[in-house]
């Protein structure tokens, strides 16, 4: 896909990828073999009819393509940009065995962007209101999907969101240069156009309890509160000034617009030499954000090698082009402060890889050597854990792994009427898997409420 010049783009927050032109899109679509048993579809968590929409694109029927996608995926402009396609749809494309797989993500993004450019806002058919209220807690991709699917079926939906802006990680985590905020705003407008109400500043469990929601007449509750609580390493120096958790660093910039301080009131510390610890999307986003804030040197410090990195391939490539320096097989063990309590260096162990662990990735082990990185800021992106506020407030809710909600295949929890999905059920995962969970839960909620009606009629 076309991208902006790395030397220019690494100084601003404008979108990096430029997307395909009409001509490029049609040409790419024409490469598709239109497989009878398409492998690509198996790789997509929401099973989009990929050959179907690609075939429309091939015929230059751009709105037709979007129409096919929308049946499966409510947020194509977002997924086309952030799905780890190389492990999903594209990763399975039959063409990939010999040559280059079809750029399915880019085509999906093109279809969604094209409609907007042409001002085609589609009208989704909506059933008559059925009068049943459903509460959706959290406005990330999981919550938005449940809300939209049920609203289309005629349900009266209210989304409750703790922050002052809806969108979940899409607004507070993923940076503007990867996923412009106006795209998320557009998708949220679409959800609202279906009649969905959104209550902001509503920390369910504190502002109102789930029991109270049921008392107010909500027939079912969907929990999609994400896995928003940062993990940390518990190494010495972790609480020095200029050690950030990635979640804080990214929230300051994405949600609070700290890069525009003092026009916006929230500050963020700009540093010269930054080490970002971790190898996932969060680490890449933090590193590239630090660069854009003016850092001269930014390191990614990761304890395994490039092969084990969980980040999207495209992000790693973009990061390297922009000048991020990767330190593989390096595990931080101490952050050193100056006499004023600010970061001045970080000591890392040099690692070597041993046999694979239970995750199938080769386990890193200390080689006995260490080195010191001269840095003035450290950003930790070593994973997320479950946020306790809501789950702990619900008595009897079955959990696993120290705070994630235990759900069935369809998204139902052990408590009748309470459903869940997305990161709070699976642990930190992906946008599209959260959406897939939302779709399944919407179906299950519909079945559940329909069965309630039957019971009452008898």
């Amino acid at each position: 896909m076309r991208a902006r010049d790395p030397k220019i783009r690494n100084k601003d927050f404008k979108e990096v990828s430029l997307g395909l032109t009409e001509k490029q899109a049609v040409k790419e679509a024409s490469r598709c073999l239109q497989c009878k048993k398409p492998k690509c579809v198996e790789g997509c968590p929401v099973e989009i009819d990929i050959p179907g929409f690609i075939s429309a694109l091939r015929d230059s029927d751009f709105s037709g393509a979007l129409h096919v996608i929308r049946k499966y995926n409510m947020l194509p402009a977002i997924c086309g940009r952030v799905c780890p396609q190389e492990n999903q749809c594209q990763g399975r494309c039959i063409l990939g065995r010999k040559k280059t797989p079809i750029s399915i993500g880019a085509l999906e993004r093109f279809s969604a962007d094209y409609a907007v450019k042409k001002g085609n806002t589609e009208k989704t058919p909506k059933k008559k209101p059925n009068g049943h209220k459903v509460a959706v807690i959290g406005s990330g991709p999981a919550g938005l999907t449940v809300a939209a699917d049920l609203a289309r079926l005629g349900y009266d939906i209210t989304i409750f969101e703790a922050l002052h802006k809806p969108g979940g990680v899409l607004v507070y985590g993923i940076p503007e240069f990867r996923l412009p905020k106006k795209i998320i705003a557009r998708e949220i407008e679409y959800v609202k156009s279906l009649g969905v109400k959104i209550k902001l500043n509503w920390v369910v469990g504190r502002t109102q309890t789930v029991d109270e929601l049921f008392e107010e007449g909500f027939k079912a509750v969907f929990i999609g509160v994400g896995a928003g609580s940062p993990r940390y390493m518990s190494i010495p120096g972790e609480n020095l000034n200029n050690v950030y958790f990635a979640a804080e660093f990214l929230t300051r910039v994405n949600l609070m617009k700290a890069e525009q301080f003092p026009k916006y009131d929230t500050p963020v510390k700009k540093a010269k030499k930054v080490a970002v610890i971790g190898g996932g999307n969060v680490a890449m986003d933090a590193a590239r954000t630090a660069l854009r804030l003016g850092a001269k040197k930014v390191y990614i410090v990761y304890r395994r090698t490039e092969n084990e990195m969980p980040t999207r391939l495209e992000e790693l490539e973009h990061a390297k082009e922009e000048g991020i320096i990767c330190k593989f097989l390096s595990n931080p063990k101490e952050i050193i402060g100056d006499d004023k309590g600010y970061v001045k260096a970080m000591i890392c162990d040099e690692m070597k890889l041993c046999e694979p662990d239970e995750s199938g990735r080769r386990r890193p082990e200390c080689s006995g050597k260490e080195f010191t990185l001269d840095v003035d800021q450290v950003i930790m992106a070593v994973g997320q854990a479950s946020n306790p506020i809501l789950v702990k407030s619900i008595k009897g809710l079955k959990l696993w792994g120290g705070g994630y909600i235990k759900i069935d295949e369809d998204g139902s929890s052990n408590i009748p009427g309470i459903f869940a999905g997305g990161d709070i059920a699976t642990g930190a995962a992906t946008v599209i898997s959260a959406m897939g969970a939302g779709k399944r839960a919407a179906r299950a909620i519909h079945t559940y409420i329909s069965s309630l009606k039957k019971v009452r009629k008898r």
């Binding site: 502002t207 300051r252 003092p262 009131d265 500050p267 004023k340 946020n387 306790p388």
Partner: protein, 281 residues
């Protein structure tokens, strides 16, 4: 939008506002705080709920104008609205029948002890309140504390009200003369630290309310982390109250100073900007 019902200046640079927030008022427990954002460009700042009225659906916030956001908040008059308020956040103060309790409030931190006082009295505790400040003018809500406490002691640095001296001196006498079961102290960090050091040798359980810099206040970012007995805790969900004897006060002081330059810059820009009427909006 959350409408300001009433505004009152309670001491120099100290303002109390009563705000319409029915759901927060209904769920407020002593020790809780809210996070608010005045307008679209505003910072999210935490303020303790100093009082609430569930029937009326209002909460009262009391703050000291010390920086950009609190200055701007202090300019909003009754009838105006605050864009965002989320809460009630943080753990509730553990309230039960203790026996003799001592509340120690430093400066305006005292006001945030008020809900705790009311809750302790509901459980029929004996409560002594010590209010300390630099001078008489900075003692807030003395009348309200007198209404509920068994005894109120005032100390000022200059002796302009009550006895001359520090809160710790008054506290020491009480601890030595009575069987104090719990001390709850809220105020400037150095005051809370001094109270903590004082009660430690006596083995009196002591709770302090910590005020690290917060961003969202719901446990999502880790900005508010504090060091409690050598372990990292998120003050917004696991606090803000902690066992005083386990707090690493030096680390907290250091972290609180992290944005000093930016705070000064924001304040300068704010003071310089001629109001085009936006601050009244």
């Amino acid at each position: 939008m959350y409408k300001i019902i009433k505004k009152e200046t309670v001491a120099p640079q100290v303002v109390a506002i009563e705000v319409d927030a029915p759901y927060i008022a209904r769920h407020h427990q002593a020790g809780n705080f809210v996070v608010l954002r005045i307008n679209e460009r505003g910072e999210r700042i935490p303020l303790t709920i100093a009082d609430s009225d569930a029937k009326k659906g209002t909460i009262t916030l009391l703050f000291q104008k010390i920086g950009k956001t609190t200055e701007a908040l202090g300019k909003l008059n009754a009838g105006k609205a605050i864009r965002d308020i989320a809460g009630p956040l943080g753990h509730a103060t553990p309230i039960k029948k203790y026996g003799h309790c001592v509340l120690v409030g430093g400066g305006i931190g005292a006001a945030t002890l008020f809900p705790i006082l009311k809750a302790l009295k509901t459980e029929k505790n004996k409560v002594t309140t010590i209010l300390g400040a630099r001078e008489q003018k900075l003692i807030v809500w003395e009348d309200r504390f007198k209404e509920y406490s068994d005894e109120v002691l005032v100390t000022t640095d200059d002796g302009s009200s009550g006895r001359k001296g520090l809160v710790t001196e008054a506290l020491k006498e009480i601890i030595e003369s009575s069987k104090v079961k719990i001390v709850i102290a809220v105020g400037p960090i150095r005051m809370m630290q001094a109270v903590s050091e004082l009660t430690r040798p006596y083995g009196v359980k002591t709770i302090v309310s910590l005020n690290p810099v917060m961003v969202e206040g719901t446990g999502m970012c880790g900005a508010c982390r504090v060091n409690i007995a050598g372990k990292t805790k998120f003050a917004c969900v696991e606090g803000p109250e902690f066992d005083a004897h386990e707090v690493d006060f030096e680390e907290l002081v250091n972290r609180l100073g992290f944005y000093r330059e930016e705070e000064a810059e924001a304040m300068k820009a704010f003071k310089k900007k001629k109001c085009k009427g936006h601050c009244k909006k």
